[in-house]
Amino acid sequence: MAGLADRLRGDGPDLDILGRRRLWYGLSLALLVLSLAGLLGRGLNLGVEFTGGSVFTFTSASATVERVREAAAGAIRGSGDGQVIVQRTGAHGWRVTTGLTSGDRQSDERVEHVRRAIAERLGLPPGEIGVQVIGASWGGRVTERAALGLAVLLAAVIGYLSFAFEWRMALAAVAALGHDLVVTAGVYAWTGFEVTPATLLGFLTILGYSLYDAVVVFDMIKEVTARLGSTGKMTYTQAANRALNATLVRSLNTTLVAILPVASILFIGTTLLGAGTLRDLSLALFVGMIVGTYSSLCVATPLLAALKEREPRYAALARRVAGRDRALAGAGRSAGPATTAHKRRKRQS
């Protein structure tokens, strides 16, 4: 670890990331196909917030699954919806999910009835049992708003990046972002983690994070490639690769620094609190951040390079560089493209 840190700190890495773009494309394509298969085949495990229902939460050291289930199922029986899910959360935490939703006075009373039944059975004061009732249409509403938020956010960010950088960068960043979302959703589909509004929130945050990361990399690329045309020693792709290496330390550091707090929320959320906002959110962030870092390095940048190489002046530059390399190679293989020369020099020192 210390060795790696020293190497990163000292020289800065020199990895040919863009040269292996086929590998990354293949990997990403495989991930996307796998994710889509999971999403279509298995589907997401939607929480009660999306399906409508009620959740009773309480802590009790003496309760057992059987007793809790009996109390809740007994109280619900006769009201049409008999489904009861009992979960343990944290050390003594309990979470009972039922299909009872809110709406009219009657259903309010039914929910109250279940709560009292559980309280009586376990000898708890009713006030110690938290109740959350979610209307049947609430999930649709949340999803709708999230989708709208996503659309507006994407439009705003594409607009801003086109203004601050250029449209190709905006396009590459947003493509990477779509990649992150699909893959993260795929992870949820395959693992069967519950999707709650907090998870959606996490997804939306990943957007911000993924874009932030791509912006920092692109900023460096812009700086390195600004002086390209004059020298004619490097293609756009090679220059982008150099920029990528220059920000690699930062990218990895940033990811680590961002994941550390998220991991601590995930840890606390899982061990101390069990199911809940903290765990759902941090899990989505945890998965999304890892995918996001990978994509800003290995998806966004190769895509950007591919887009830029289509521009006439960079295509011409690539031809010039290729011609120069051939000439040099013919002259005695003394020097290659900048990257290779760079590497060789490093090996010598």
């Binding site: 000292g10 802590t59 900023d219 930062r250 991991a263 606390i268």
Partner: protein, 524 residues
């Protein structure tokens, strides 16, 4: 920072106020539903918030909070049970105009204090002066409100409050209900929507009188607009209501029908949520499409009535999205969990920064500490002055943005190292690195801000809190980097420990720089 700290010390508001998910209590989220499924306008939502706030606060629940969040309305009541809150906000406020069929003072025994027998109910409430729209107040000049009182003789009231009332044509069951109705507090039926197609028994807002009212003649949706106004001649406050075309026709019909009827049947009650807000006598048919509702209004009560009329005009219904009741123990658990997670996260980041950046890590850590202090001060200030309540999504947002804040340092530090690698002296690298890092930080933070603002505006429920925390910390991050980290590094660059690249400073010159400074290596 001292400027921010002073009011906090003064107010002793050291601990921010907590949201319900941390303190325990009930949250009800209401989603508006329009008849045609379109998005409700922001104004109508804001008005709905005002009305619901009036209703909840008016019920004596203290510390309740009603806010608009995106296009939902969130009502939070700390420490209260679900049932109680639901009763208050679960129903839609409905406004109706109904003809008064009978009126009597509230039952003395039920009202708590005996009603002075000589005070007829309606004298406390208003006489109304409907006027055609447009021109100045025409026709009947304001007369003494007392003239509107019912003609029940004080003597008769003592024995039977209903004696002397004209109850012809009213169903016996209704009369019986009228006889029994208790106008004190709860039983007033506040919050219970009245059936517009039926005659009802209702009480006045102050609980001093009871009414039998005819079917609704005009409904709240028939009101186009209502504004409080003051009569320039008398200086009295009144409410000017303007009707839609259908409403104007209906209003003209009912006022035409009841004008000239004997007291109290010539009075038209304004009923909101089943409560009689005012019941003015109609002296002439109102045909102009607008009416003037007068009475003993103050500026506040006129403004409130106008608002209630406008609310009645809102084509909005509310559906309950979620109802969440969090016990105080669960809230405390969540708060503890959030704080531990935040502390742990901060510690991990500090540890990593020290390990990786060594001396520079100290700069990063002190920057984080300053940012944390600023965040704490902002939260405490907002909580003391702007009604901000710290909730779980806020805490998560704050913890997550530790990463964003730390990243600004990392971007800058890496730029400085780039400069050192290129052979620049430290004090130069600090400046050139800053120029480049500044741009990156600005662009990246702008993207985060765009994301935060979008989420905040469009979000439902907890998302807004999270987005708010993200936006706040991004701004704080900018402030810290520009006003603290950069100046600090400029100063440190002159300190020998850093300038000479001490082994522990984190600014040691990489060996390759030296190699790069040598003539290029010869070929093989």
């Amino acid at each position: 920072m001292l400027v921010m700290a002073a009011p906090i010390v003064q107010q002793r508001a050291f601990v921010p106020r907590y949201g319900l998910d941390l303190a325990g209590g009930t949250t009800v989220t209401l989603s508006p539903v329009t008849p045609d499924g379109s998005r409700p306008s922001r104004e109508s939502l804001d008005q709905a918030v005002e009305i619901i706030r009036d209703r909840v606060n008016g019920s004596g629940i203290s510390d309740a909070e009603t806010v608009r969040s995106g296009d939902t309305i969130v009502v939070t009541v700390p420490g209260r049970g679900r049932q109680e809150v639901l009763e208050l906000v679960g129903t839609t406020a409905e406004l109706r105009f109904r003809q008064v069929l009978a009126v009597a003072p509230a039952r003395a025994d039920a009202a708590g204090a005996p009603t002075p027998s000589g005070t007829p109910a309606a004298s406390a409430r208003p006489a109304a002066l409907p006027h055609p729209s447009g021109g100045p107040v025409p026709g009947p000049s304001p007369t003494a409100p007392a003239s509107a009182g019912p003609r029940a003789s004080p003597g008769a009231q003592r024995d039977d409050p209903l004696a002397g009332l004209d109850l012809t044509g009213i169903e016996p069951a209704l009369v019986e209900e009228f006889r029994r109705v208790d106008c004190s507090a709860r039983a007033r039926g506040q919050g219970v929507p009245d059936d517009p197609g039926a005659r009802i028994v209702a009480c006045s807002q102050d609980g001093s009188s009871r009414y039998i009212l005819d079917r609704a003649a005009v409904r709240g949706t028939d009101v186009r607009n209502a504004t409080p106004a003051v009569d320039p001649a008398t200086g009295e406050w009144y409410v000017s209501a303007e009707f839609t075309d259908a409403g104007a026709a209906a209003f003209a019909r009912v006022t035409g029908r009841i004008t000239g009827l004997p007291e109290p049947r010539n009075r038209l009650a304004v009923v909101l949520d089943g409560v009689v807000v005012s019941a003015p006598a109609i002296r002439e048919p109102v045909v102009g499409g607008s009416a003037r509702i007068g009475g003993d209004f103050t500026r506040e009560s006129a403004t409130r009535l106008a608002r209630q009329l406008r609310y009645g005009a809102l084509p909005l219904r509310f559906e309950r999205g979620t109802v969440e009741e969090i016990s105080s123990t669960l809230g405390a658990d969540q708060l503890r969990g959030g704080l531990i997670a935040g502390g742990l996260g901060l510690l991990a980041v500090v540890g990593y920064a020290m390990l990786y950046y060594r001396g520079l890590g100290l700069v990063a850590v002190s920057g984080l500490v300053v940012a944390a202090l600023l965040t704490y001060l902002s939260v405490a200030l907002l909580s003391a002055y702007a009604g901000f309540r710290l909730s779980l999504p806020h805490i998560v947002g704050l913890i997550v943005s530790i990463g964003v804040t730390a990243d600004s340092f990392i971007v800058y530090f890496e730029r400085i190292r780039d400069g050192l690698r290129a052979g620049r002296p430290l004090h130069v690298a600090v400046e050139t690195g800053w120029r480049r890092a500044r741009r990156t930080i600005l662009v990246a933070d702008a993207v985060t801000l765009i994301a935060a603002v979008t989420l905040y505006l469009l979000a439902v429920g907890g998302v807004a809190g999270f987005a708010f925390a993200m936006g706040l910390t991004t701004l704080i991050d900018l402030a810290v980097v520009f006003l603290f980290t950069k100046p600090l590094l400029t100063v440190l660059a002159r300190v020998r420990f850093f300038a000479e690249g001490h082994r522990l400073s984190g600014l040691r010159r990489p060996r390759r720089t030296a190699a790069g400074a040598r003539p290029a290596p010869r070929g093989t």
